[in-house]
Amino acid sequence: MIRVRVDSEKCQGHNRCFNLVPELFDLDDLGYSHERNDGAVPPELEEKARLAVANCPEHAISLEDLKEA
């Protein structure tokens, strides 16, 4: 099981993650992103979660592997 995290200090509201995987991210009224469901990533969305990390120009998104943690 992996978990996704949005660093709200780094997020500038590009909305790339939300556009890619709205199942994992939501936006506040100003367009800043946060993770849904406390960041839980179902196995079928793991690849998309990695894409959200790779597409964020602010390096605001990270993944943690709950098994390792």
Binding site: R16, N19, L27, L30, G31, L51, N55, P57
Partner: protein, 405 residues
Amino acid sequence: MTTEPVNDWTTDYDIFDPDYIKNPLPVWDELRQGCPVAHSRRWGGSWMPTRYEDLFNIARDVQHFSSRNVLVAPAGPAAAGAGYEVPAAFQVGAPPITSDPPVHTWARRLLLGPFSIRSISRWEPETRQLCRSLIDGFIDQGRADAAAGYAQQIPPRVIASMLGIPGDMADTFTGWVRGFLEFGLTDADIRGEAAGAIFSFLRECIEDRKQRPGDDMISYLLASEVNGRPVPEPHVLGTCFLLLVAGIDTTWSSIGSALWHLAQHPDDRARLVKEPELMPVAVEELLRAYSPVTMARVVTEDLEYAGCQMSAGDRVLMSFPAANRDPAKFPDADKVVIDRAENPHIAFGVGIHRCAGSNLARMEMRVSIQEWLARIPDYHLEDPAAVTWAGGQVRGPRSMPVVFP
């Protein structure tokens, strides 16, 4: 406009060189491999980083690189002294794009709500209808100017609606904005005249909305508060100036470049027709490959960056378009990979000045390309050499005759 030929791009670049405007890619590749932060004394003097890493670092270092002047060529003395009324709003600039923290923080917050994805979705049906009626106007002729007759027509009408201004002002807006950002970049008289016209017009709009508030951005800004007080009126004027100037050339250039690319790549066209769900990813790739906007920053104190001795007051050209073509960041950076999966491009900038209108721009690009391909899936440039380009602050095609069956 005439420019002296450039012999050494690392020490004497000219962003208004006609060949560079037409195709800047070879210059960026050369600079990235060698220099990689170029310098030039032309057009008021400036530095120009070209690597993704450098643009990323400088854009995020707002303490050392101020946004107080973001134009790529400095305003000449004529703008202030040629008999134009210099609006008081020039003192606040065009917030938040010309602001640094702390003003930037609240000035930007004002815009983020109305420009969020959800707010912008309100304008999608109108944008789609606009695209359809533009296409209706030329589809029977078998030819069109995809830049002047289509791309250029879309953003000014949408921003007019957002400001609560009749759409028939759109051509006037286009003329003013080209005067300010395109022809006026190298001619301070033209720039001053365009800025004066925009400010006078907006001031009238503000007076009108004070009497008759409506459901529009000007009324919204007038009704907004900062620290418990109404937003100062010069600030409202400056922000309206920004909305008008920043939302027109930029997006129409992106739409035009996208249609220019697709005109020459039938495989990409066919794929987008067959796989419409690919469109959002394709839009990001077209934004990366044909990023239209270069901004500027002002160095706030003497410093060394990447071996360059920069002095307080020096200007830095933020060549986001060059960063997005950096092979150190993007595999096959020189190719348009229409389904590129990993694409952290910075066409909208990076850091606190991320383009506040990015959701509007994306929506307009997506809708305008969808509607074009739905009606005109097969088309090509009438004469590739006849396409004209503008560059400097905003790069994109200005005339692009295409033909279709």
